[in-house]
Symmetry: C2
Subunit: 139 residues, 2 copies
DNA sequence: ATAGCTGCAAATGCTTTGCAAGGCC
DNA sequence: GGCCTTGCAAAGCATTTGCAGCTAT
């Protein structure tokens, strides 16, 4: 019989209108089984290779974007020239460690944003991101 | 006699420990005369060329980073793969318009951040960035 | 004079794309 | 079978760097 997590991953992909291919299934399991995580394309690609999954880096990029478009992932921009993808799509914020590049969640209820100014002219608010940049003090 | 803004730009550079070269002076005047602004390296380079200032793009990048290190500019990361430099170094936040890439200041006193969680383990808070992403509603 | 700058072009790092071959329905 | 996916390699961007020549002090 088919294992549970496997079936769950198939469902996730089907629900997103994506064919459950070997590559997408492997990446989905790496991403969504277990705790929430923050990955770069490069990281996910190495991880897949380490697990013996053959996937090209281009496919990892394509897949991450497809998952993002499907609402399964959220893209987090904290550093010029590098994209992080967050498996936690709920509203929340981030600690970003300068130097190591480590990203950590801040639950939404631990940051309260008071008065936000109204959006200018003809635009509407899409999202509010709070990034708390932290660093290790000079030794 | 030497014009006022010119002298001011020389002072700014001297204060930052940077030699007042022709290129740095021109860029400083484009950046700091007039209102606060948000520029990318590419934008500043085009603007310089339009004004007849000969500067290479590499020098614009180097200069923007030197100014940032000197505390004259602040780097703002809102989009993967593109850096904005903000002439307003005071604490404040941003509206970012998805689609056009337009950046607008939100004065610090118009956003109140309530309880922030303590920084994890051995790190200290460096800065807190709030980015309000806005977009033009589907027509 | 000399330490610091600049410009060019090449190199880099991340990401995207074109297209032929392969896999799912 | 037909359409969606994949992989590779090439292309694309924004940015950085090496180094010879120029410039402020």
């Amino acid at each position: 019989m088919t294992s549970r997590p496997f079936a769950a991953a198939v469902e996730t992909l089907r629900g997103a209108g994506l064919r459950p291919t070997r590559q997408r299934l492997s990446l989905a399991r790496l991403l969504f089984e277990g705790d929430d995580r923050h990955v770069t394309a490069e990281q996910l690609h190495s991880e897949a290779e380490r697990e013996g999954v053959r996937v090209s880096l281009a496919t990892v990029y394509n897949t991450l974007h497809q998952f993002t478009d499907a609402g399964l992932l959220r893209e987090v921009v904290v550093e010029a020239g590098r994209s992080y993808f967050d498996t936690n799509t709920a509203s929340h914020h981030h600690f970003f460690e300068i130097g190591t590049g480590a990203l950590t969640d801040i639950p939404a209820d631990q940051v309260s944003i008071g008065a936000l100014p109204a959006a200018p002219d003809g635009v509407e608010i899409d999202s509010v991101d709070v990034i708390v940049r932290v660093k290790r003090p000079a030794h």
